[in-house]
């Protein structure tokens, strides 16, 4: 394993012998490739990983900066059973798994901004986006690993594991931790129910309660103090007028 080289596929395949692993030197988005594989019946646990994405996807049409061989850009196919209404909690579960993997490998404390942005020292180090289609969840994860700089427009908001941990990292062990961690948290959600994930997220994120935030509700902004997750995992915010607003989707920013 050489941090500056492409992923060591032999090592990864030895480490995860039963896993369907697709590696791409460059692709538009691992989400698109995974959607096709999923439609063709690839099993739960299938991973699509790319050295570079030319059209990495973020929420609401945002892109994800995917510098070649510096980050981990992957999509994991999950086929959960019996999740029903708690399916969206997979997004919190995925964030928890990425946080744990990063903290254990880099040795720095990370935070989760609801619902699942991974922040280190207040800057975004990883982003997660899930899509659900025909019984399969595609968990898209982008982690800034060995980036030393970012494009000007995101530089004030972004960081990498290398910039915060002060050393270059091999991406392979991180990839394994992330994949296995997401599966473990998804299993926890299925077996122990929503409360296990809600409690773990509440513990793991400084954003869940008592944080002054503004929330962009698709163009309209509200300001208030976070007041915990509701039973479905939505963030609640208490506004200055005393109203409790439930955030279904939207960009949350600390003040």
């Amino acid at each position: 394993m050489n941090p500056s080289a492409p992923l060591d596929l032999d090592w990864l395949r030895r480490r995860m012998p039963d896993r369907e692993l697709h590696w791409l030197a460059t692709t538009g988005s691992t989400m698109t490739v995974a959607a096709r594989l999923s439609a063709d019946g690839s099993p739960s646990g299938t991973v699509v990983v790319a050295e570079e994405q030319t059209a990495g996807k973020g929420r609401a049409g945002h892109s994800w900066h995917s510098e070649p061989a510096s980050g981990l850009y992957l999509t994991l196919i999950l086929r959960p059973h019996n999740l029903g209404d708690s399916l969206p909690l997979l997004t919190l579960a995925t964030g928890l798994a990425v946080k744990e993997a990063v903290e254990s490998i880099v040795g720095v404390a990370a935070d989760l901004k609801w619902p699942n942005d991974l922040l280190i020292e207040g800057r975004k180090a990883a982003g997660i986006l899930l899509t659900y289609d025909s019984g399969a969840v595609l968990a898209g994860i982008g982690i800034n690993v060995n980036h030393t700089r970012f494009p000007a427009e995101i530089a004030p908001l972004a960081t990498s594991l290398r910039l915060t941990g002060r050393r270059e990292l091999s991406r392979e062990p991180l990839l394994v931790r992330v994949i296995e961690g997401v599966e473990r948290h998804a299993a926890l959600l299925e077996e122990a129910g929503p409360r296990a994930i809600l409690d773990a997220f509440t513990q793991a994120s400084t954003y869940v309660s008592g944080k002054r935030v503004t929330v962009d509700l698709d163009g309209r902004e509200i300001t208030g103090v976070t007041a915990g997750l509701d039973e479905r995992g939505f963030l609640t915010v208490r506004t200055p007028t005393g109203e409790l607003v439930t955030i279904l989707a939207g960009g949350v920013r600390a003040l």
């Binding site: 929420r59 049409g61 997004t91 609801w114 899930l130 659900y132 698709d218």
Partner: protein, 155 residues
């Protein structure tokens, strides 16, 4: 019937407060039904009850098109319901055209919209082949579980 005509009918329904409006012209029939659940529109209005916490009402019907139409629904149409609580998006990103518009013919499995719930993007697919005759929610609007999104006239 042109899209402008349909827009005029929607405006008319909105202005007059009609819950439902059906117009037939040259063999083409358009029915406009307004979503009556005003609470979702009040969602971010200061002082208004929060839809997501105050509206725990039982779902109107199963989230998938159900064989037995719920009250007020036209049994000849197939209604597409929201399978989760979230936010309705008409397009995959803000700068591209909607997945579908009224009058479009859709196939089984075609994506009609996305409901986002905590960054889980739920692609809602049509379970029938037919023509989109109504859309009951606007872009970026919060949706409740079981809320009607589209009506499709099966072909």
């Amino acid at each position: 019937m042109k899209i402008e005509d349909i827009k005029q009918l929607i405006d008319l329904a909105n202005e007059t407060g009609l819950a439902e409006l059906e117009v037939e012209r040259n063999g083409e029939r358009v029915r406009i039904r307004r979503a009556v659940a005003g609470a979702v529109q009040e969602y971010v209005v200061p002082g208004a009850p929060v839809a997501a916490t105050t509206h725990q009402a039982a779902p109107v019907a199963a989230p998938a098109p159900s064989p037995a139409a719920a009250a007020g629904e036209d049994p000849a149409l197939t209604y597409v319901k929201a399978p989760i609580v979230g936010t309705f998006y008409e397009a995959p990103s803000p700068d591209v055209p909607p997945f579908v518009k009224i009058g479009d013919q859709v196939q089984v499995g075609q994506v009609l919209c996305i409901i986002e719930s905590m960054k889980l993007m739920n692609e809602i697919e049509s379970e029938v082949s037919g023509v989109i005759v109504s859309r009951f929610v606007s872009n970026s609007q919060p949706t409740e579980y079981g809320q009607t999104l589209f009506a499709i006239r099966p072909l």
